[in-house]
């Protein structure tokens, strides 16, 4: 059997391997930085925290670890896992292994809200709130437009509506950039649109994490039915599921998840596109395994990239730039070697 597939590892083995890799990257990320820590320092500090012991001799070390590094590590893991989970959902829904979580305009919409917030000099929390709200609103609008336009392939109309409204939101962002104060607001908008975890606060992670977890619930519970949706509407319907309701639910969950992390990290491209695709090569397309594999890979990858971003040079490199430099070649490689999609 020459074409018998050998590329898929045992799913359990693949997932444990990915989990281990993420743990190693996290430990390394906690140790590396302008204030280097050893694994022993970190373990000892964690044990002290666990037992409620405080020792003034370690005050500086603990501040670095608990107030700076761990929140940032948590944010990177959360953002990477969420973007990849949403990407896996969208790729299944649109039956295309090369779509990303922002295909319906959630990131561009969130970018518009954030740019407006920065333009109006609002406080950070309000900027995040606006990004979250406009991200959701954009997808809701895309969905409403697609539902109003009948008589075509529903997923195709959704994608086209997403492209059109995304372009419109992009034009509004450009307008805000022109109007913005070039010394203060413009760099902030640009930086936000490229994504960064440099100014992440523990509170950011604490607000985004519950939203991500809630969005994850329907994805996990309905993971088998997600497979049926990826066969297309007619087959899914003939197999006994209601594709429209199921799709609406998955879009809502994936959008909520993306918007909640984009609001704290800014727009980080490529992760949600490339990671689910590679995860599929590793464990196959069954959503039962694809979802955890995508999340682990996305979490580990973004943490790796973020650690590079903060240690490579004295000034932080925006994440969107790094993910693009890695993502674009991988994407081209996938196009060249991958199967036919649309």
């Amino acid at each position: 059997m020459g074409d018998r597939h050998t590329r898929k590892l045992t799913p359990g083995l693949a997932l444990s391997g990915l989990g281990l890799a993420v743990a190693v990257i996290a430990a390394a990320a906690a140790a590396i930085g302008p204030y280097p820590l050893t694994i022993n320092d970190i373990a000892a500090a964690l044990l002290r925290r666990l037992h409620g012991v405080s020792d003034p001799a370690f005050a500086q070390l603990e501040t670095v670890l608990f107030s700076v590094r761990l929140p940032r590590i948590g944010a990177a893991l959360l953002v990477g896992a969420a973007l990849s989970a949403a990407g896996a959902v969208y790729q299944g829904l649109f039956r295309n292994p090369l779509v990303s979580p922002d295909i319906l305009g959630v990131s561009t919409g969130a970018g518009l809200g954030a740019a407006l917030g920065i333009f109006l000099s609002l406080p950070v929390i309000a900027i995040q709130g606006m990004a979250f709200a406009t991200g959701l609103a954009t997808v809701a609008l895309v969905y409403a437009v697609a539902t109003a336009v009948r008589g075509h392939e529903p997923t195709l109309v959704l994608v086209l509506a997403g492209v059109v409204l995304g372009a419109l939101a992009g034009a509004c962002i450009s307008l805000l950039k022109i109007l913005a104060d070039p010394y203060d607001q413009l760099p902030a908008i640009t930086f936000w649109l490229l994504g960064s975890l440099a100014s992440i606060q523990p509170a950011d992670v604490a607000t985004a994490a519950p939203v991500v977890l809630i969005s994850l619930v329907p994805m996990v519970l309905l993971r088998w039915r997600m497979n049926l949706l990826s066969l297309g509407d007619e087959e899914a319907a003939a197999l006994g599921v209601d594709p429209r309701r199921l799709r609406a639910l998955f879009i809502a969950a994936a959008t909520l998840m993306t918007a909640s992390v984009v609001a704290i990290s800014g727009v980080i491209g490529w992760v949600g596109l490339v990671m689910p695709h590679i995860a599929r090569l590793l464990v196959g397309p069954n959503f039962d395994r694809l979802l955890p594999a995508s999340m682990l890979m996305g979490a580990g990858y973004l943490l790796l990239v973020d650690t590079l971003a903060r240690t490579m040079s004295a000034t932080e490199t925006p994440l969107g730039i790094l993910t693009a430099f890695v993502g674009a070649p991988v994407f081209i490689w996938l196009l060249a070697t991958g199967r036919r999609g649309w």
Binding site: R95, P97, A238, G284
Partner: protein, 258 residues
Amino acid sequence: MELRAEKLAFGYGHQPVGRDVDLSVSPGQVLCLLGPNGSGKTTLFKTLLGLLPAQGGRITLDGTQMSALSRAEIARRIAYVPQAHEAVFPYSVRDMVLMGRTVHQGLFAQPGEVDRARADAALSDLGIADLADRDYTRISGGQRQLALIARALAQESRLVVMDEPTASLDFGNQVVVLDQVKRLAGTGLGIVFSTHNPDHAFACATDVLVLDEGLTRAAGAPADALTEEMLSSVYGVDVRLETLSSGYRVCVPPALSG
């Protein structure tokens, strides 16, 4: 279990495709749907499966209006075998067949032991048990068609609707698929299938319905309903029917025999 359409009008949205179609299928019956390209076969199938709303007339499943049934209730009674397609994602053949079990599972369920056993039994039944762990995207068109039929078996519906199950298959695989159709009807399934080849109606159908421009041109047992005049007029070429010495009926185009 009976699928019955009366005075059925069908089409997309406001655009009518066909009307006044009467048909019925019960377990053990094989209804072959014939008709030239664009005659409305696919639209009729989608309407029979409840994927498109009927524009007029009625479709009933055991006397219950189709429109009153949920997707799951329809799927427990009628299974659909699409044309062997290229899947986007490389599901294993077993996973593909397991998807037919969804209608017997709870909303949040994963396939269990029983489902796996049924799926494997369906694969064995069609003689493709050895393909279970292969990627659906990496098997041949004929094997895919058999896998999709296995999925319909795993769904355990008494009626199966097959959209051109022999389309784009080589000669050998066409015979294999038609043989399965005949065999499955023998096990008590009711089957509706469409084809472009009238010979297939003679080969394995108990009933035939010829659709032309959305209207019924002929219906009944193949031997009675399929006449040279009717087939010639529907397909727009001269058609001669001949009986081979084995008793097998075939269509012959005289245009090609001279």
